[in-house]
């Protein structure tokens, strides 16, 4: 018999002013999976994430997490259940130093009790977490204000904020976009480590090469519809996918 899926998305749809951004998308995700979501620009990948995490109210369809219907819940309640996400366009607190950025997720009621309440306790954990994602401990980079950090560090900070929430399901929205090859290569092991810890991960990605290496399963979106699902090789064999990515010939 099969175990109940961790996340179950059924017929999720959303229209923005008459344009169907997402059209009856369904998929299931079991614990420990790494699901890749790919598709051309504007195919509805980010909308899918926004709907699951409650940042956009859904048009129709439902999202079920651990048997609970979380459709249209407020984002903070979804996070408390154990779903953390990153944003494609990073959203740091620009006025705060990098390590102070980490205090906010650490203050969330989900992880608050795990941390001592004394002043500075969270700072220590914040610095540890930042070191994990590649903020070098001996440099001063973790103390710099977020507004002066380069994109690579901001992406890492975004990831660290999601990790800090100790979520079971991580949704990483185009984490690799705008990063150099070397930076991507340094983040891939972090994601693999998260998998070893038993986290379930959804990755929205344009960098297919890196994604194919780590994903168990892929779904492909085009014009808001799911056009293929399966392993990397299966998916790339599909004619529809070739058409969506490469144009009509091939």
């Amino acid at each position: 018999m099969s175990i109940a899926p961790l996340l179950q998305v059924t017929n999720l749809s959303k229209a923005f002013g008459g344009v169907l951004a997402l059209n009856r998308v369904s998929f299931e995700l079991s614990e420990g999976d790494l699901l890749g979501v790919i598709g051309p620009n504007g195919s509805g990948k980010t909308t899918l994430v926004n709907l699951i995490t409650g940042f956009v109210k859904s048009g129709s369809g439902e999202v079920i997490y651990r048997g609970r219907d979380i459709t249209n819940w407020a984002p903070y309640r979804i996070v408390r259940l154990g779903i953390a996400r990153t944003f494609q366009m990073v959203r740091p607190f620009y006025q705060l130093p990098a390590f102070k950025n980490m205090i906010i997720p650490l203050y969330s009621s989900r992880v608050k009790h795990l941390v001592g309440g004394k002043y500075g306790d969270r700072d220590a954990i914040a610095l540890d977490l930042l070191e994990e994602v590649g903020f070098e401990r001996d440099s001063r980079v973790a103390y710099k204000t977020a507004s002066v950090l380069p994109q690579g560090y901001l992406k890492r900070l975004e990831l660290a904020k999601a990790i800090a929430l100790q979520a079971d399901l991580l949704i990483l929205d185009e984490l690799f976009s705008g990063l150099s090859l070397a930076e991507v290569a340094s983040i891939v092991p972090i994601i693999e480590k998260l998998r070893h810890e038993g986290k379930t991960i959804i990755m929205i990605e344009h960098r297919l090469k890196e994604l194919f290496r780590i994903a168990d399963r892929l779904i492909v979106l085009n014009y808001g519809m799911k056009i293929a699902e399966g392993s990397a090789t299966d998916v790339m064999e599909s004619d529809e996918v070739k058409k969506a990515y490469l144009g009509t010939e091939v």
Binding site: G54, F55, V56, P75
Partner: protein, 290 residues
């Protein structure tokens, strides 16, 4: 009695629309909330009065000069002050509010308080419409209000400057890539808004007297109308003017004139609870807030 109330409610609605339309125009285009708006409204009336009574100019010329003065002051305000704090909405609010405060209190200090400070009506005539006494000035308000709204619509939809206004309003960055000078457009928008405040003042003030307190009142009313209608939406301003205009008259008639303010306050709070961006608001960032 009832038709009379309807007629006065319509007039009242047009007064509110006139008071709010300039504020709304400026905000809709450049995102500047001009809190000196009420001060400009009153200032134009005082300038008219001074030109008319102390310098002996003809009424029409003093009115035109006062409107131009307000428009120029608006442009100056943007160039000298707002340009330096552009994009920081709160600094803009505090700065314009400071300017408005200075203008209004200067007039108070100079002693412009009393019943003799009033502007003459345009044409001293009155009619009986459906058994109700209506004076010419109020009819003018409706006509000019209607005319201004139509002109504004034609301006923003059929002139290149108007289209540029709308372009900047919709997406400033894209407009910049097409070579529009957004600072210049914003200057004009503040200036136009100030001009419209002056126009409103020139038309409406003859119904009462010019007073410093009126400056704060007008700002308050303009804000109330814009918040209910949805900031930056001209249609919303008109609808909201009618909502408040009618609500005020009818509370006046059935409950008591002192309660009109409570109606506006209640309307604001109710609209904000149901739809934070206002009845016709297009402020996306607001709607997204879940």
């Amino acid at each position: 009695m009832f038709t009379g109330t309807i007629i006065y409610a319509v007039i009242n609605s047009f007064i509110l629309a006139l008071m709010a339309i300039g504020f709304n125009l400026t905000f809709g285009i450049s995102g500047v909330a001009n809190f000196a708006y009420g001060a400009l409204y009153v200032m134009a009336a005082y300038v008219s009065w001074i030109l008319l009574n102390l310098l002996g100019f003809p009424y029409i010329i003093s009115a035109v000069i006062s409107i131009l003065c307000a428009a120029a002051l608006g442009a100056l305000m943007y160039r000298l002050v707002l340009l330096r704090v552009r994009g920081q909405a709160l600094s803009e609010v505090i700065a314009t509010f400071g300017i408005g405060l200075a203008i209004l209190e200067l007039f108070r200090y100079l002693g412009f308080v009393g019943f003799e400070y009033t502007l003459p009506v345009f044409i001293d005539k009155s009619f009986f419409i459906a058994g109700t006494y209506v004076d010419m000035q109020r009819i003018m308000i409706v006509i000019i209000g209607l005319g201004l709204i139509i002109l504004l619509w034609l301006f923003t939809h059929h002139t290149s400057l108007g289209l540029a206004f709308r372009g900047i309003a919709q997406d400033e960055r894209t407009a910049l890539t097409f070579g529009m000078d957004s600072d210049w457009i914003a200057t004009l928008s503040v200036s136009f808004g100030a001009g419209l405040a002056a126009v409103a003042g020139t038309i409406i003030i003859p119904l009462g007297t010019i007073s410093v307190g009126e400056g704060y009142d007008v700002l308050m009313k303009a804000l109330a109308v814009c918040i209910i209608g949805g900031l930056g939406s001209t249609g919303g301003v008109i609808v909201a003017s009618f909502v408040i205009g009618f609500a005020e008259r009818f509370t006046d008639l059935y409950i008591g004139s002192h309660w009109t303010m409570i109606v506006s306050l209640a309307a604001i709070l109710i609209v904000l609870v149901i739809k934070p961006s206002g009845l016709f608001g297009k402020q996306k960032e607001l709607e997204e807030r879940i």
